[in-house]
Structure formats: C-alpha cells, structure tokens
C-alpha cells in the first residue's frame, strides 16, 4: 500500500521566493519611511522619552502628520551606532539625543549635519552662548553643591567639601567624574581646564572618605539613607529629588557653576532630514520647553519660555546671578580619556 501522507518537499525556488518575501519589508522600509514622513529619533528611555512624546510628538508634530518613532538606548550605544554607520549612505535614525560634549566630538569626526538655520525658525530664541550650527540645545542645568539641610549647613564653594563636617559624607556618581573635575578646577583656578589642580583636590577629597556611586540615581538613595550629606550635582536633579520628598537643597558655588547641556543632532546620513528639522523646531517651542522644566527641572534653552509658579521658584537663579560656565568641549574631548584612566587608578582604586 502506498503511504497516503503527502510529501512535503522544499524546493529551491520556493525557498528563494520565501526568503525574498520575508526580506521585502526590510528592503522597502526606508522608502516607506520617507513617504509617511516618519522621523526616527534615537534617545534615552524612561521619563525623558515619555516627556518627548507628551510635549513634542503628540501635541506639536502629530497634527502636522509627522510621526516620531523613538529608538531607545543609552548614550554610549547610540554614539557607537553613529560611528559604526559612518560609511553607510543611509543611517538608521534621523535625530539623536546627545550631551553637548559628545556632540562636539562627533562633529570633530565629521559625522554631523551642518544645520540649515533657516529651517529651524525657533533657533533665534536659543540662548546665544548655547548655540552652534550642528547641535540644538534642548535642556540645560547648572552644576551646584547639593547638601541635606537636615544634616549640615550649605557648603558655599567646592573647597568646603573638604571640611570636617562633610568628612566621609561627600558622594559623587562616578559617571559625572569629569564634570566634578571641572568644578574642582573652577574652584582651584577660576577656569574649567586646570585638571592638574583639580586632581590634587580630588585626591584630598578621596583621602577624606569620598563615596562613589555607579550612577546618578543612586545618589538620591544615599541622601535618603543619610549615607552622605553633600556632593556635586545638577540643579535639575536636586529639584527632581526635592519633588520626590528627599531632603536635599542646592547651593551655587561662589566660584561658578559648570553647565550641563543636552540636545539633538542630525547625523549626516539621516534619511529624513526635513522631518528632523521639523522635530528640532518643535522641541524649541515654548510649550515643549516649559513642559520639560516642569517635569524634569531642566532650564529652557530658549528665551521665550518664561517659567511660573513652583517651577520658577525652584529653578530661579540666586541674586546676584551666579557665574555660569560652559565646558571647554575641545579640551574635554582631548582630556576625558586620560582623565578617566587617572580616575580609575587614583580615585576608584586609590
């Protein structure tokens, strides 16, 4: 008797046809992407991604038919992706969130589009000291001395952290190490580029029982458990933790505050550059800027987004106005890697 079960045979042509059918969406995706005006945004996740959607994508871009697709990752993999894709004619994203220091490095590597300022009308409202032609600043925050007012009185300059009441109770996230060094340099020399003097101060601080944490949020837990009573932190984080009920306050150091600036860049090989420009312009809208200030505690980078109520109070700069100092990004690019090596062997293992 002949076996009645039908034979299944995969022929080569069928296999090829199946493979082509499976690969078709991927092959056609870039064309389809441009047609529906989709902007691919590479950014951080969590609250930042949510606030981008709530303050920019949904209220400002969706009504214009622009759909923003977020690809979520940390900053280092995003940068790695941009470097790895540098030879490709079409990159995988149109806009990328970056800290200013990294934007300057990628600009030096010729990976970033020089922006056509006529396509970003809101650029004229950006603070002049934050403007460049390859990076659009989104948010910024001054670096302040953070302390717990229930445990200690306010430190007034970086050197105060070496005092006996802060001994063994000063904490930094190690990922902010270069900014901490800039703060130390500002105290020691009045500028942000005297890393050698900063190193001497950091060694003293380390000998005084400096506590190091793997990332920024662990600082909040350390304040909450009273493991530390002071440190150096962004004003935005101080505000965020105050809103979370943690006993912390900010003190602007007399020598000045280094600025942290985060924003967006357009890779040279972005597929939808027009969409990218629309996104950049939308994120500078006053409503979007105010939304970020209210929820994340970062200051608006534009002059036409005044703050009001509790946010204005929390983010108000003291009177007289403190000295706000932008990092020397070219210097940072050159010095960060050697400094990190020094930090690893002398501070982390010191």
């Amino acid at each position: 008797m002949r076996d009645s079960v039908p034979e299944f045979r995969l022929r080569r042509r069928a296999l090829l046809a199946g493979s082509v059918a499976l690969a078709a969406p991927a092959l056609l995706s870039t064309r389809a992407r441009a047609a529906e005006d989709r902007v691919v945004l590479a950014t951080w996740g969590g609250d930042y991604a949510r606030l981008l959607r709530e303050n920019i994508d949904t209220p400002l871009l969706a009504p214009k038919g622009v759909k923003v697709v977020q690809t979520i990752d940390d900053e280092p993999p995003r940068i790695a992706q941009m470097i790895a894709q540098r030879m490709l004619p079409r990159g995988t994203f149109d806009v990328a969130s970056l800290e200013a220091a990294y934007a300057y490095r990628l600009k030096d590597m010729n990976l970033l589009e020089t922006l056509d300022e006529s396509k970003i009308p809101n650029l004229k409202y950006v603070h002049p000291n934050l403007r460049t032609n390859f990076f659009v600043p989104h948010i910024y925050s001054p670096q302040v001395l953070i302390y717990d007012p229930k445990q200690v009185t306010a430190p007034t300059n970086f050197g105060d952290l070496l005092g006996p009441k802060y001994k063994g109770k000063v904490g930094f996230p190690t990922n902010n190490n270069f900014y901490v060094a800039m703060a130390a340099s500002l105290y020691a020399s009045g500028n942000v580029t005297d890393i050698e003097k900063a190193k001497a101060l950091l060694i003293k601080l380390n000998q005084n029982g400096l506590r190091l944490y793997p990332e920024t949020d662990s600082i909040a837990a350390a304040f909450k458990s009273k493991e530390i009573n002071s440190g150096v932190m962004w004003l935005a984080r101080v505000v965020m933790w105050q809103n979370a009920g943690i006993s912390v306050a900010a003190s602007f150091p007399k020598e000045g505050s280094v600025l942290y600036v985060s924003g967006f860049v357009v890779p040279k090989n972005a597929v939808n550059k027009q969409g990218a420009y629309q996104f950049l312009n939308a994120m500078l809208e006053p409503s979007a800027q105010q939304g970020f200030a209210a929820h994340m505690g970062y200051l608006p980078t534009v002059t036409n987004a005044p703050l009001s109520g509790k946010v204005a109070e929390q983010l108000a700069l003291p009177n007289p106005a403190p000295r706000l100092v932008s990092p020397d990004y070219a210097y940072d690019a050159k010095e960060t890697a050697p400094f990190n090596s020094w930090w690893q062997s002398k501070i982390q293992q010191g």
């Binding site: 076996d3 034979e7 280092p76 993999p77 030096d108 458990s225 960060t336 890697a337 090596s341």
Partner: protein, 294 residues
C-alpha cells in the same frame, strides 16, 4: 490466509528531490558559525587599531592596547580581582551546591518538584532585576541593613558596594545552574552502589568519597566550568553591587567602550578575558584525573 507480513513501504531516497535533514540543519549551522566568528574577527581586528582621544579609533596594526593591559598595574589588578572572585564564587557554589543537589536527588518527598521549581524560579527573571532586589536588601536603610543595625547600632557596617555583596549576588545567580546539573548527575548514580559500599563496611562518608564522588566528577567538572565562565563574565552584579571601587573585567570593558570610547582597548580586554576564561576552564578540566573525565 496469507502468512507473510505486510510489506512496509520504505520511501526510496531520490537524488535531487527534497532537502535532506542534514541540508536543513546546514543554514542554521552556518548562521551560528558566522554570527559567532564574525564578531570575534571584528574584535581581533579592532583590538590592534590605534586609539586617539580625539579621533577615537583609527585603522592600524599596533599592539598598544595589549601592551597597555600588560604594563598598566590597574588592568592587571582588575584581572586578578576577576579571577579571584570567579574562582572563590565557583568554590562556594560547589560547597553549597553539592549537598543541596545530593539531598534533592535522593529525596523521595512529594515536595521535590516544588523545591526544584523554587530553585529555578530566580532564573525566570533577568539578572539585572535580581541584582536590583539585592540592592534593596543591602542598601543602607534597606531590609537587611535595618536588621543589621539592630545588632550593630553604630552604623559602621556597609553591605552595599562590598565584595561580600558581589559574592552573594554571584552565588544567587550561578548556584541554581550548578545544583540542577549536579542533581542530574546524582540521579544517574544508583543508590544501590552506596548501599553496597556500606554493606561492605564503609562509613557513609567513605562510601560517598570512594564511590559517589568519582562518579560525580564528570558532571561536577562541567558544572564548575559553566559557573566559572558565568562568574568571569559577570557584568550587572559587580557593577551594581560592587560599585565603582570594585572593578571586574566585564564592567571595565564596558567602561572602556562606552565612557572612554576606547574601542581598541575594549576589544583587546574582551579577547584577553575570553582567553583567560578558556585557560581556567582547561585547567579546571585537567584537575580531574583522566579516568574520571567524561
């Protein structure tokens, strides 16, 4: 009545017809090989590129990253810590895992399945989530910290960001694997052998040492090598529980890659870590007499 058995139709193999089982396995095998080999080749190539703080990685053929590892005491110290922690954690796993696996294998309790499930349950969640759980326990003001404070009120003992925390985190991650492997090995060893040894006058300890242990060795060495590999390459546990002052190789590689953008050094460290892990695995295997190896 026809007494002959009905003939079974044996399908003849036709050349050029359908794709055979071997041919169907081939694409997957090729994909796996390519996906494994290609990154390794890329790593090897990147590891001899030049690093410049401004231009980052530029194409070259230089041993600078390897030289840096062997001449900078910091990296040698990180490797030493990694090997020490991995070997210690593996030793502790064996110490705790062998009795658990033995009891489990010999158990006739109706709760045996439940115990096995409880053992495997931590593996259902990601390593990072599990590590965050340990952080909540260890952190000052956390559950364990608060209990410790009752005993030790002066608040001088830190659990978080200590080698102890890393060791506990690694054990919790690796121990279930070791127990499961060893339980399977113990199940294959007939209890009758132990009973025979004891019938011939051996004490329980001697029966275990002379009869069960040699038979367990092939399975044990596989489990030890697996634990060693996992401990050597641990990332989230040393990063989150050890803190910045406790450096192990995997977090260090990420730091070189992500913070310093030093891809050549990160690639060189990855290959060195892989090589050291391989050497340790071979050494572990060689420690077992040849006649007991699988």
């Amino acid at each position: 009545m026809n007494a002959t058995a009905p003939a079974i139709a044996v399908p003849r193999r036709r050349s050029g017809g359908g794709i055979t089982a071997g041919a169907m396995v081939l694409p997957a095998t090729v994909i796996v090989l390519v996906m494994m080999a290609a990154p390794l080749i890329l790593l090897a190539r990147d590891s001899v590129n030049h690093f410049d703080p401004t231009d980052l990685m530029t194409a070259a053929l230089t041993p600078q990253s390897y030289l840096r590892f062997f001449t900078d005491p910091y990296y040698l110290r990180v490797m030493r810590t990694t090997v020490l922690v991995a070997v210690s954690a593996t030793g502790l796993c064996v110490l705790f895992g062998v009795p658990i696996a033995y009891r489990l294998a010999r158990s006739r309790s109706r709760w045996k399945s439940a115990i096995v499930v409880a053992l495997v349950l931590p593996l259902f969640m990601s390593g990072t989530v599990r590590t965050l759980g340990w952080m909540i326990l260890f952190i000052k003001g956390g559950l364990l910290g608060s209990v410790l404070r009752l005993v030790w009120p002066d608040d001088s003992i830190d659990l978080m960001y200590t080698p102890f925390a890393v060791m506990v985190g690694l054990l919790s991650f690796v121990l279930p694997y070791l127990v499961l492997i060893l339980q399977a090995s113990f199940e294959k060893i007939s209890p009758a052998l132990e009973e025979a040894a004891r019938g011939l006058g051996a004490t329980p300890g001697r029966a275990f040492r002379r009869v069960v242990w040699p038979l367990l060795l092939p399975g044990l060495i596989n489990a030890v090598i697996l634990c060693l590999i996992m401990n050597m390459n641990a990332f989230a546990t040393p990063l989150l529980l050890g803190g910045p002052r406790f450096a192990m190789m995997a977090p260090q590689i990420y730091t070189e890659f992500a913070t310093n953008n030093n891809w050549p050094l990160a690639a060189a460290l990855s290959l060195i870590l892989m090589f050291v892990t391989l050497v340790l695995s071979v050494v572990a295997n060689r420690l077992v007499p040849r006649r007991y190896r699988a």
